[in-house]
């Protein structure tokens, strides 16, 4: 397992040993004359410089590749989050429709339930990938206000109902939140 993971390192270690062995084998011939030694020094120096350039180049290349891969993964994730957010937005919007329909019929308990489920979906919308996060804050505040009002409305009775104006106020809050949610992207 370890050998397999380090295959390339093992390979170059073997190659290095071979190279050293080769040089030791030809040592006598290289060292025989000053001229041969100079020749050898020149060519090995050149090879060392080339190796240096290649090594540096490879380092820069790999760091750039890493960055590109990271960016590609980010875009993919972004798309995924956007897709799941889009389905959540559709869900929230239909729940808010249900909520305002119930409010219109003075049926506040189911309205409250629909709104609370909508809020639960709303918090699951990925904020990090929204291009207009300030809208999301607006929606959350609007839903909060509406929920408080509907909760109060749950305490009304037939002899003490909400007025039309108060009902309209709640419906307006819900509708505003809905239109804001549809503009999220």
């Amino acid at each position: 397992m370890i050998l397999k993971a380090n295959l390339i390192r093992v390979a170059y270690a073997v190659a290095t040993l071979a190279l050293v062995a080769l040089l030791l084998f030809y040592k006598g011939r290289i060292m025989a004359t000053q001229d041969a030694l100079n020749q050898f020094a020149f060519w090995t120096g050149l090879a060392t410089l080339i190796a240096l350039m290649v090594a540096l180049g490879e380092i820069f290349h790999s760091s750039r590749t890493t960055k590109l891969i990271k960016r590609a993964i980010d875009t993919k994730l972004n798309e995924q989050a956007r897709l799941s957010s889009a389905s959540l937005i559709a869900e929230v919007s239909s729940l808010l429709d249900e909520c305002s329909a119930h409010v219109g019929k003075s049926d506040y308990h189911p309205a409250l339930r629909a709104l609370q489920i909508a809020r639960r979906f709303n918090v699951r919308i990925e904020r990090a990938f929204l291009s207009t996060p300030e809208k999301h804050v607006l929606i959350t505040n609007g839903l909060d206000k509406a929920e408080k009002k509907i909760q109060i409305a749950c305490h009304t009775t037939l002899s003490a109902p909400l007025t039309r104006r108060q009902q309209t106020e709640i419906v307006n809050l819900v509708t505003a939140a809905k239109s804001n949610i549809e503009q999220l992207a």
Binding site: S159, A160, P161, T163, R164, R165
Partner: protein, 101 residues
């Protein structure tokens, strides 16, 4: 709590309304009934108070020839007043309707 004088008066108004002597107009959106009499005009407005979570009736009474508008408010914690005004509110709405049979 409404002053006893006013409560008596509203009782009389209620009776006149039921007898058809007083005509009211009803504004559904504002939950407001209003009537005009040669000697006075009166509005009664209903609202649900979101702070106290109780129904509330406000009476606006104006004498003809006098600019002052008197306001009286009562809510569900004063049972008899509330029920009296609720009866008036219902009677006033009915005064506007011409039932088919």
């Amino acid at each position: 709590m409404l002053p006893p004088k006013l409560r008596d008066f509203i009782g009389k108004v209620l009776k006149k309304t039921i007898d058809g002597e007083l005509k009211w107009s009803f504004d559904e959106f504002n939950m407001l009934i209003s009537t005009h009499h040669p000697q006075f005009s009166m509005d009664v407005r209903y609202m649900f108070n979101e702070n106290t979570e109780m129904g509330e009736y406000a009476i606006f009474y104006k004498e003809i020839g006098n600019q002052t508008e008197f306001r009286f408010v009562t809510d569900q914690s004063f049972d008899t007043d509330y029920e009296l005004l609720r009866s008036l509110f219902n009677a006033a709405q009915a005064s506007e309707i011409q039932f088919p049979f």
